[in-house]
């Protein structure tokens, strides 16, 4: 029960798995276009976030007392919000937090999920049963709902957000890696390694782990995009970063009341930045997936 948005959907691979003459080349070229565009978007956004102090003319939480809800123009490129903070500057600084939390959370989820999946898949027996029942409980919820509950219970803060998003995503990785580890376990070279006296840890680390990571590599970038959406969603509901930290979801939330009054600049630009950034991850993930499918053929 993986979230469809998170994992790119089942049967995606069916697309290029079918043996059709001539499609390989064109499909491959499309995959390369996707990867290049995705990587470009992500590079630009990352650079903008890193060099935010050079590109922004205001601080991320600096208040301009003379300009409250000022329309775009003048010294405020994209106007100001209801606190008198500059939207354009906050947009740039927010990228640091959004990208940082999303990537850190997915990295943590991959590590934890992989360890659980490896141990469960390789050892089998009661260890497998116990771990997988736990995974079942986690996956009895739509992922965003689970994130909502965990975030509400843990409370605000960057570290808690990373833990929340990692915890919600880890079960999917555990399941993926477990399936791979189970099939790798049956291969003759594992038997050979065990017979020649390798320890369980040695076999897991040197042989099973590297051979079980293929699906993880494809899913992880897609998952980063999803993590950003989750983070922004939590912040939008007031369960993410604390106000007035510059974060895209929190900025959209702050601009929420302005929308009814027709003031677009407080909430539309942060959402657009978020969309473009997530799209970068999606394009990259889609391209990697298509390429992986083409190779398997």
């Amino acid at each position: 029960m993986v979230d469809l948005r998170a994992a790119g959907g089942p049967g995606e691979s069916a697309d290029t798995a079918a043996p059709v003459k001539g499609r390989g080349v064109r499909g491959g070229r499309f995959a390369n276009v996707l990867i290049v565009v995705g990587a470009t978007i992500l590079t630009v956004v990352t650079l903008a976030a890193i060099f935010a102090p050079l590109l922004a003319n205001w601080g991320p939480e600096e208040i301009d007392p003379a300009a409250n809800l000022a329309a775009p123009g003048g010294s405020h490129l994209l106007g100001t919000d209801s606190n008198g903070m500059d939207i354009w500057s906050r947009l740039l600084y927010a990228g640091r937090l959004d990208l940082g939390i999303a990537v850190a959370a997915v990295a943590l989820a991959v590590v934890v999920g992989t360890i659980v999946g490896l141990v469960a898949g390789y050892l089998g027996g009661w260890v497998d049963d116990v771990l997988m029942r736990l995974v079942d409980i986690f996956q009895a919820f739509p992922t965003f709902i689970l994130a909502l509950a965990v975030a509400a219970l843990l409370g605000n803060g960057t570290v808690n957000l990373i833990i929340t998003i990692a915890l919600v995503n880890a079960p999917a990785y555990a399941r993926l890696v477990r399936a791979e580890a189970r099939s790798v376990r049956e291969l003759p070279f594992i038997d050979a390694s065990v017979t020649s006296g390798s320890s369980t840890f040695g076999v897991l680390w040197r042989h099973v782990l590297p051979n079980s990571l293929t699906p993880v590599r494809v899913i992880a970038p897609l998952n980063c995009g999803w993590a950003m959406l989750t983070l922004a969603g939590l912040s939008f509901l007031g369960l993410g970063v604390s106000i007035p930290t510059a974060e895209w979801g929190a900025m959209i939330s702050l601009g929420n009341p302005d929308v009814v009054a027709g003031r677009w600049w407080t909430s539309v630009p942060p959402g657009l930045f978020l969309l473009i950034c997530v799209l970068g991850f999606s394009l990259l993930g889609e391209g990697l997936q298509e390429r992986a499918d083409a190779k398997r053929r």
Binding site: D15, A18, F30
Partner: protein, 336 residues
């Protein structure tokens, strides 16, 4: 008969998972910091007031006693008393679930129809311009924050164009709609209240559009993938080689075979929809289940949190079960 056995076996497998959910939420909500009593009493309450309130909600009992009481209530469908409102949680759920179901059912149905039509159209033009634009559209939809999309639709549909009502409330109160199910559109039909029907439909349009756009993107990708799979299958190629008419091919061989995948996709999408509904309800001030559960979580209202978590988990796993059964009925190849 085999189907019944299959359903029975799956239901049995659900019991440990749901029991785990019940135990975990019960424990986590109490172990982690946050006190519902303090939030309802305010900062000026004395220690005696707090103790009295705790006793009223049975929170002074030992943990195991509280848990047994909770389990006993669950069996009879009683979720306890809300600490925040003092009302029966079961009654509050009954009021809140109609508006949310209305939103989710309309959006998921709309998204399914659009996804099947566009997905098959796209697959038949694989790797051509039309196909690529649909795929890009799906990728963009898949990357869009639903709450932001909701705000953009409000900005355009209400603030700028003024075509849709303000994002507050679900029906114009002047239409005097009698609530029956809680789903306003259905209530309007049941009571033959046509002004209310129009008002409810107008209020429903933007939230449904928001949710449907977000859901349609991942669905579209999956439908396209499975349609491509069918197009390249031996059965389809053979049928084409026999010289069947294009219409027969499209309807009987492509659409039907692709539709087999739809139930399981709908189940997956249902989960995405529940998550997104919380955000969409918040944006449109839609007084549904999601808003209620969210407030319960924020105020650490134990009975409300427990009830909403258990109900969502139950609904989610049951939808998957139903999808599997429908799939088994549609597809004779499935062995159950």
């Amino acid at each position: 008969m085999r189907i019944l056995r299959f359903v029975g076996r799956r239901l049995l497998q659900l019991i440990p998972v749901l029991l785990g959910v019940v135990v975990l939420t019960f424990l986590l909500v109490r172990v982690l910091p946050g006190d519902p009593i303090r939030t309802i009493l305010g900062p000026n309450a004395t220690e005696e007031d707090a103790a009295a309130a705790r006793e009223r909600f049975g929170l002074d009992q030992p943990m195991w006693k509280q848990f047994l009481d909770y389990l006993g209530g669950l069996v009879t469908g009683d979720f306890g008393t809300s600490i925040q409102s003092g009302g029966s949680v079961t009654a509050e759920v009954a009021v809140r679930i109609g508006p949310t179901l209305e939103l989710v059912v309309f959006s998921v149905s709309l998204a399914l129809v659009v996804a099947v039509v566009l997905g098959i159209w796209s697959a038949r033009r694989a790797d051509r311009v039309g196909d690529h634009s649909i795929r890009i559209f799906a990728l963009i939809g898949n990357s869009m924050p639903e709450f932001w999309l909701g705000l953009v639709l409000i900005l355009v549909g209400y603030s700028v164009l003024g075509w849709f009502p303000a994002p507050s409330g679900r029906v114009d109160p002047d239409t005097n709609l009698t609530p029956i199910t809680g789903a306003d559109l259905v209530d309007a039909v049941l009571t033959a209240n046509w002004p209310a029907f129009g008002s409810a439909a107008a209020h429903l349009a933007l939230p449904v559009a928001t949710l449907a756009i977000v859901i349609v993107a991942p669905l579209l990708r999956s439908v396209r993938a499975s349609a491509l799979e069918v197009l390249h299958s031996e059965a389809y190629v053979a049928a084409g080689a026999h010289g069947l008419r294009p219409r027969t091919l499209l309807r009987g061989y492509l659409t039907r075979a692709t539709m087999v995948r739809v139930p399981s996709l709908a189940a997956l999408v249902f989960g995405t929809a529940i998550g997104s509904t919380v955000l969409v309800e918040y944006v449109y001030s839609w007084q549904g289940f999601g808003q209620w559960a969210l407030r319960g979580l924020l105020y650490r209202d134990y009975p409300v949190v427990q009830a909403s978590v258990v109900i969502i988990a139950l609904a989610y796993v049951l939808v998957f079960l139903i999808a599997d059964v429908v799939h088994a009925i549609l597809d004779p190849r499935v062995k159950i």
